[in-house]
């Protein structure tokens, strides 16, 4: 396989792997196939999906470096955009199916509940990264592009906090996500010592 074929194959796989669960999810949800409370189910499913995809996105560059597979970097944007897609669905599920279009309640909740506030901040930041992810903009932005996209690490931590604050008692799963996030950040310690000069 040429490199282009590899990229094409992997991208096809990512499209299928990311979209199939979404199609299954909504078909099941509308046909009453997700248990007694489909609302909670679709919210949790898309939220965890967004976080999973964000973690996978952040695995790309360490893997590409470690195994000297530079072509892998060409699928990173697609993974990041799918994380954004799931995060948008997560918010849409909350507004449409949980709050049922009660926008004043939504605004109230964003202001009053810290875990929702930081979830919204993370999503807004992720939106900024997503809309600037295209090559034309990337070239235009020059060095600022990298500066902006380094915010992805902040987003990761915000999302982990959003998750742990949202659960009622059992924090074992969010703690596992925190550990994974920590590993992915630790792998980049050289980068952080460069972009955060004060930490020297």
């Amino acid at each position: 396989m040429t490199q282009n074929q590899k990229v094409f194959t992997l991208k096809t796989f990512i499209h299928l792997a990311a979209l199939t669960p979404v199609i299954w999810l909504y078909l099941s949800a509308f046909s009453d196939g997700l248990g007694a409370d489909p609302v909670q189910y679709v919210i949790h499913f898309t939220g965890k999906g967004a976080l999973n995809l964000l973690l996978i996105t952040l695995c790309v560059s360490p893997l590409a470096q470690k195994f000297k597979q530079g072509w892998l970097m060409q699928v990173r944007r697609l993974l990041g955009l799918y994380s954004f897609f799931y995060a948008v669905l997560h918010l849409a599920n909350f507004i449409l199916f949980d709050l049922q279009n009660n926008w004043s309640l939504f605004i109230n909740e964003v202001i009053k509940r810290p875990y929702i506030t930081i979830g919204m901040v993370a999503l807004l930041l992720l939106t900024a990264l997503s809309v600037t992810s295209f090559n034309a903009l990337r070239r235009k932005m020059g060095r600022n592009w990298q500066k902006l996209h380094n915010w992805v690490y902040v987003i990761l931590l915000l999302v982990c906090v959003h998750y742990i604050w949202s659960v009622k008692a059992n924090i074992s799963q969010p703690l596992i996500y925190f550990m994974l996030a920590f590993v992915l950040l630790a792998l980049r310690y050289k980068k952080f010592s460069r972009i955060l000069p004060s930490s020297r």
């Binding site: 007694a36 199916f97 109230n108 008692a169």
Partner: protein
């Protein structure tokens, strides 16, 4: 099938019932797993015979009831109650049971009895969530709950042994559970083995875990938010998929204010939440 009468109209909500399979497959019962679908799975082989429920503390007659007594010593009746979960969803459930007051009167409370403390079975072999932190959410077992004496004696407060005309399935709190319809669902403790009348307010599980989020009283109150979400409205779980989910206004005391508001007339309910 159980033998029972239909209760009087005042105990029979006219809201549309939540279908049986939703009542039995959407449960918060961490003893059988912290996810809503897990109790139905992990409680499938839960054995309730033999079972012993003891009633003691500040009473003149200590009682010990076995599984059979729970179904035979009292006249069973079917009551349809709204159940409002603190997580802002709700159901409408036909319970079968008897007033808690009938049992307490048999035990003949002393005048020193001010509160009632309830305890769930502690048996990690039969309740896998109690031995596995990951499954059981890591809360302190056994689960304990409590009521003030006047709340416990209120005619709405019942002990349920069945739902939809059948004995309770394990995931709904077999063989006997409390149902207090004007309080958030976590007050309605399941699979009870001990009822103790006490002189002081007993500790309660969720209050110990997160006192700023869950109080002793836990009366359904649209005006007092949970710190992490609004309690002003709720999603009623009936039938159908995503589009059928129905957000409705939450009523003070879950719609039972006429019956119970007087119990709290001099209390600041934002403080005693």
């Amino acid at each position: 099938a159980l033998e029972y009468q239909k209760a009087a109209a005042e105990f029979t909500a006219t809201d549309k019932l939540t279908p049986e399979d939703k009542v039995t497959h959407h449960n918060n019962f961490y003893e059988f797993g912290a996810q809503k679908s897990q109790p139905a799975e992990y409680a499938r082989n839960f054995k309730v015979d033999p079972w012993y429920l003891k009633v003691d503390g500040q009473v003149n007659n200590n009682l010990l009831l076995d599984n059979d007594d729970l179904f035979k010593q009292f006249d069973l009746e079917e009551r349809i109650y709204r159940l409002r979960c603190v997580e802002a969803w709700s159901m409408v459930i036909p319970w079968v049971g008897f007033p808690l007051a009938s049992l307490l009167k048999k035990a003949d409370p002393k005048s020193s009895a001010k509160y009632v403390a309830f305890e769930t079975l502690y048996d990690p072999k039969r309740m896998p969530g109690q031995s596995n932190r990951f499954l059981g959410g890591g809360i302190d077992y056994p689960y304990v709950e409590g009521l003030r004496m006047d709340e416990a004696m209120h005619p709405l407060t019942m002990l349920a042994v069945g739902l939809y005309g059948k004995a309770l399935p394990g995931q709904n709190g077999a063989p006997v559970r409390l149902v207090v319809p004007w309080k958030y669902g976590f007050k309605s403790i399941k699979s009870i083995v001990s009822i103790k009348l006490t002189t002081t307010e007993p500790p309660t599980t969720w209050n110990k875990l997160a006192p700023q989020e869950y109080g002793f009283y836990a009366n359904v109150n649209p005006k007092v938010d949970h710190p992490r979400w609004s309690q002003a409205s709720e999603r009623r779980i009936t039938t159908g998929g995503l589009f059928a989910s129905n957000r409705i206004a939450t009523l003070p005391f879950n719609g039972y204010a006429d019956e119970v508001a007087s119990l709290y007339k001099d209390m600041d309910l934002t403080r005693y939440y």
